[in-house]
Amino acid sequence: MKNLIVLMALLLVSSFAANAGVDVIVHPSNANAIDANTIKKIFTGKAKSFADGSKALPLTQGDSSAVTSEFNEKVLKKSSSQLKAYWSKLVFTGKGTPPKEASSDAEVLSLVANNPNLIGFVKQGSADGSVKVIQSF
């Protein structure tokens, strides 16, 4: 019994560990106040600019990556199939274009570090000094 409890506790801890957290990042020169709701709007195509009027370009990662599922669930409050259904509706009616996709945290970091219009997300703790973390989830 005791072993079982220990095992369950371990499983719980490891499932928390799998949910590593998500950092939302922008270029260091981006001084806009960007709250969770703004992030959600930018990533669902409902807002196209930052508060200062400059263009906001969202950058996502592949469907199958853990950080994407975590971002979708915590920030966009949608499962990946709900999100895909949402974008299908917009794409096939000419009303929107889904965010561009990067293949890894490293690619997101290097793209965001070089473009003040981009906003992306990476696994918590992987951001370096070349970008600015604006929110953690």
Partner: protein, 359 residues
Amino acid sequence: MYRKVILGCALCFSALPSYSEVHISGFTSINAGKVLSGSGVPHYGINEATFLADYPIVSVYNEDVSFKPESLFGLQVKADLGEGLSATAQIVSRGANDFETKFEWAYLSYEINDTWTIQAGKKRLPLFYYSDFYDVGYAYIWMRAPADNYTWQIFNYNGVNVLYSGDIGDWSLTGNIYYGREDDKENKLLSDFFFQEPTREIWKDILGGVLQGSNDWLELRATVMTYTNQRFRSGEPALWNGKDERDGTFYGFAANADFGDLFVLSELNRLDLDGNLDTVMLTLGYRFDSLTPFISYSAFEQKDGDDGEDHNTTSVGLRWDFHASAAFKIQYDEVEDNSTSLAVAGDSKAITIGIDMVF
């Protein structure tokens, strides 16, 4: 869906550093179904049990299992020319038309700024909430948008469309105003089903507007559209009260509420065309992770006269998101056709299953 091909034009226009990004995406539905029982419409020669799953495309199921009525394959090509200009074409091949491939959409789009976009060309007529993505089964819960609501014979138009997008507080607003016409030389629904003779259907001076607002959990949509109808049956103009044309006005309202796992979808529409034709739809669904069971009711009722068109459908079904880009669906429909002189396909009980994909 997000696949992107960059066509470098460095070779063809080496002097110009211009290139266009071409996005290719698509959708497909492979559906199969059969009628379990039904009355047919013996006084119109429909002696077999028949389920009309879809009016405009005339997707008909009978007692033999069939894959053709609703299966389709669609491909969209969007060329992004930069500076807000793009050209989009969508071709769709349908089992109901023996997989003959047709351009359903072909339009130019110019994004003036973040708020306004102007489009011109051939587009889907955005009458009902689901009209303009009717073919993309993956984007909604049922096997098909409820047939009793989506009965109108014209579903495309050629014209211009101005799109608006903005927000007020927590509400995101989108809207559009469109103007155009459609001349369908041999309308399938009228020719094959209602009149059983070649029927040309013209909707001209189509002018419509849509306003949609959404927040975290609620989405509301209101629309109005007016048009002038002309019709030729076997080449002879149809007359209404001695005139060869008539005006129609369409009003629609939709409300969708999402409470996390539980959600409600609803639509209320009226077409005023020498009297009122009303349609309603209500769906309840619940998400258990990748499984989403739902129940739905939809109805069509002609308000004037004692023997107008009158039918309704009760459905139960399940959507299973078994893959990141594909969903399996199964649905049972019970149709009650209460009309006599305007009977459509009679009563029926039918089952359909299918897989919807986007790529």
